[in-house]
């Protein structure tokens, strides 16, 4: 179980690093890199057996991505 926890934290750090220093400084790159950190958080939820938080976070994350893409498409359009 603790392997899952530390793998999750490792992915979280990688994701935060990728958001902070993306290869090309574009909105979409940063948004997609945020998903890496979110995946790490999901692994943390999984290892600490917080089921409802995990399921709700998946749903909310999808909706918030939709909202971000809506702004980005307007900004670039």
């Amino acid at each position: 179980m603790s392997e899952t926890l530390y793998l999750g934290l490792f992915i979280l750090i990688i994701g935060v690093f990728a958001v902070a220093f993306p290869r090309n400084r574009e909105y979409l790159t940063r948004l997609i890199n945020t998903e890496i950190a979110a995946f790490g958080l999901l692994l943390v939820f999984l290892s600490l057996s917080e089921t409802i938080a995990l399921v709700t976070f998946v749903a909310v994350n999808g909706i918030s991505t939709f909202i971000f893409v809506r702004i980005i498409e307007r900004r670039q359009g």
């Binding site: 179980m1 600490l48 057996s49 917080e50 938080a53």
Partner: protein, 211 residues
């Protein structure tokens, strides 16, 4: 509880790793001047903040995370609207998305999700049913009445608060209060999520034409 044992052993190293993530994010915040980049960074810092709460690893963590998620979503919607108004961003003409599945699937999938949401009830059921309605509104044209939806949502909120008064003053009727609070929060979350489904570009175009 498995979670409590885990948290006791791994709490300090975990928090230390998260603190490194926070430091990286904060330095990025200071170096960034573009508002939209900052908004995306806010989304990322929300993930890190939720990770700190998750490390409590008890039922309290879940009880804190669920409202946090909903509030963060509402805050994101509000901030995005403010950003769009501040920058005066125009509307992009929506591309023609006539896909056959989008016209035939929504009633069936929305009905399945709403019925399953009613079976689940409470917060989770509201989220499931809300996703069903969101999908329906995204795909099909709609003539919803915002005032009516908001009124229903307001009465659901009152019911929820009233149920808590029953918990405190007439504890013998707790089962009735649980049912009341469960159905009220179901209606409320469903309506909130369904409203997001109406944020279609062409619909917004129509609204701004009237103004």
């Amino acid at each position: 509880m498995i979670g409590e044992i885990m948290a006791g052993d791994h709490y300090l190293p975990g928090i230390a790793i998260i603190c490194v993530a926070i430091v990286i994010l904060m330095t990025t915040f200071f170096r960034e001047y573009d508002d939209l980049h900052r908004l995306i960074l806010t989304g990322c810092s929300e993930v890190v903040a939720l990770c700190i709460i998750a490390f409590l690893a008890t039922d309290l963590a879940e009880a804190l995370i669920l409202p946090g998620l909903v509030v963060s979503l509402a805050e994101l919607v509000a901030l995005s609207e403010i950003y769009i108004n501040k920058e005066g961003l125009g509307l992009v003409p929506a591309p023609d998305r006539t896909i056959e599945v989008f016209s035939s699937a929504p009633p069936i999938i929305a009905a399945i999700l709403v019925i399953y949401g009613i079976v689940l009830s409470g917060f989770t059921g509201g989220a499931v049913a809300g996703v069903g309605l969101l999908f329906y509104y995204l795909c099909l044209d709609h003539k919803e009445r915002f005032a009516l939806l908001e009124t229903v949502s307001g009465y659901a909120w009152v019911l929820w608060v009233f149920a808590f008064f029953i918990f405190m003053m007439l504890p013998a009727y707790w089962f009735f209060a649980v049912m009341m609070a469960g159905s009220a929060i179901f209606v409320k979350v469903t309506i909130k999520l369904a409203l997001i489904g109406t944020m279609k570009p062409d619909q917004l175009l129509e609204e701004t034409d009237h103004v």
